[in-house]
């Protein structure tokens, strides 16, 4: 596995190195010499090509070209890996219930917990809203001006960001959904409808900024946990 010092790598070796570099990059497992020999005319050419790749992935690179037994693979250099190892994200798809609740909040905001349950026809488990809240995709949107002054929910800027929407208005309306085949049959019953079109005027229309909605929310938390004065909120 050595390139004679007095000779520059010839074009053939360079070409083989390019192919092997791509092959090893795209392979899920380390690549054996046997697999690589498909692309090289002879053993010495293979060795020269491997040497060329090893040279390209020197200490100035964040990667190294390693031999594992008789197989070859790219690995993150340990010192770089240590800097990259912050948190390992484990991706998990959002549950069906989570998707449904998120969709309802997105389309019907501001919407109360009871209304979400009404639309889904099933009671909401505590964890579902928690996950959405933790994801930062939903946020409190003030209180409904009805008895009990229930808290309403809406989507956050992070929601738009994640789904690549420029605004809530970007969500396809009923017509768009039906036209694209996502809404299957028949007519839609009136009432709940297009995104952004709230069913009833709420308190939150009086709350111009997020900040105030949050204040309101915090006040509510107080009310629930401590014995709190009645008029903590507004």
């Amino acid at each position: 596995m050595s390139q004679p010092d007095d000779k520059l790598p010839d074009d053939k070796v360079i070409e083989t190195a390019r192919i092997l570099e791509a092959l090893i990059f795209a392979s899920a497992k380390p690549v054996s010499r046997r697999e690589m020999m498909v692309y090289a005319a002879e053993e010495s050419e293979l060795d020269a090509a491997l040497q060329l790749i090893a040279d390209r992935y020197g200490p100035e690179s964040g990667l190294e070209f390693c031999r594992i037994d008789r197989d070859w693979a790219f690995r993150t250099r340990p010192d770089v890996a240590a800097r990259l190892n912050l948190e390992k994200p484990v991706e998990r798809p959002l549950s069906r219930a989570g998707l449904e609740v998120l969709a309802i909040i997105a389309y019907h905001q501001p919407v109360t917990r009871a209304e979400i349950e009404e639309i889904r026809g099933i009671s909401l488990s505590r964890g579902t809203l928690d996950i959405l809240l933790e994801l930062g995709w939903i946020k409190p949107r003030g209180r409904r001006r009805t008895p009990g002054r229930p808290l309403t929910w809406g989507t956050s800027p992070a929601f738009l960001d994640y789904f690549g929407l420029s605004g809530i208005d970007d969500l396809p309306g009923m017509e768009d959904l039906r036209a694209s085949g996502l809404l299957r049959k028949g007519q839609i019953l009136g009432g709940l409808g297009e995104p952004g079109e709230a069913a009833e005027p709420d308190d939150e229309t009086d709350l111009p900024s997020d900040e105030e909605a949050w204040l309101d929310f915090e006040a509510e938390a107080e009310e629930e946990t401590g014995e709190g004065g009645r008029d903590a909120g507004l």
Binding site: V90, R92, L94, I119, L182, L183, L189
Partner: protein
């Protein structure tokens, strides 16, 4: 949508006019123009219009069902043709004809450009064809952090499904008093021990159910709740034959 008929190629063997292969009237016009190997920018509109009309006519003769889009174009071209054939076109009229012909030419060129673009798009070095991603992707790890993922498609699909079900009429008018099974069970648990012996299940329904839907809903939820209570061993249920009255009795009052 488009052309619904003739989808079964074996159905009519003698058929030589087939609209199935076309993606709409402009596509058909383009294909007619291509047969003539005509330069679209210089194409004479009148013969093209005539060919289109003849094609649609022969499709009609073999009783092909022709989509509205094709017929609208046919009407438009027939109008254009009549104008072009006008013996002594006044200045105003000829201007209109030029406009119409130019518009048609533009529409043909525009769709042709998009058809070519779609081919060039597919000739690009596509991922998984000519370009490959890292085969052994690595997530850097020390502590685990759950990242919930969802796609816009899933979100819209979930919403679409929900609304589709709603539209099918199973879940309607949410504001009315529909009894949940849970509520019904609580109600039965509360009332039944006070009732002596076997009694009609219907007599346990809450009062004031004027809407038939409300009554049906209450009956359904009370019946389901009753089944659950039977499972718990709290009550007994009896029905003498199918569709007959359902009787209900508390086991608790029985043992006491």
């Amino acid at each position: 949508m488009g052309i619904d008929s003739g989808t079964d190629p074996g159905a009519e063997p003698g058929l030589f006019v087939n609209l199935d292969g076309f993606e709409g009237p402009i596509d058909l016009l383009l294909s007619l123009a291509r047969e003539q190997k005509l330069d679209l920018t210089k194409i004479a509109i009148l013969p093209l219009a005539e060919q289109y009309l003849a094609y649609i006519e022969s499709a009609r003769e073999v009783n092909l069902e022709i989509a509205a889009d094709y017929l609208v174009m046919a009407a438009w071209l027939a109008y254009l043709k009549s104008r072009l054939l006008l013996p002594d076109p006044a200045a105003e009229v000829s201007e209109e004809i030029i406009d119409m012909s130019d518009a048609l030419r533009f529409q043909l060129l525009r769709l042709e450009a998009m058809q070519q673009a779609s081919k060039r798009l597919m000739d690009l070095p596509r991922l998984g064809r000519s370009r490959f991603v890292r085969g052994a992707p690595q997530a850097f790890a020390r502590t685990e952090k759950i990242e919930w993922t969802a796609s816009l498609y899933e979100l819209l699909q979930a919403y679409g499904d929900m609304r589709s079900q709603e539209a099918a009429g199973t879940l309607t008018i949410a504001a009315t008093r529909l009894y949940s099974v849970q509520e019904a069970a609580e109600r039965l648990r509360r009332i039944l021990p006070r009732a002596p012996g076997w009694a009609d299940l219907a007599s346990f329904l809450p009062p004031g159910l004027e809407q038939p839907l409300d009554a049906r809903s209450a009956m359904a939820s009370h019946f389901t709740a009753a089944l659950e209570l039977v499972k718990e061993g709290v009550i007994g249920l009896r029905q003498n034959r199918a569709y007959d009255t359902v009787y209900i009795r508390s086991r608790i009052s029985e043992t006491e």
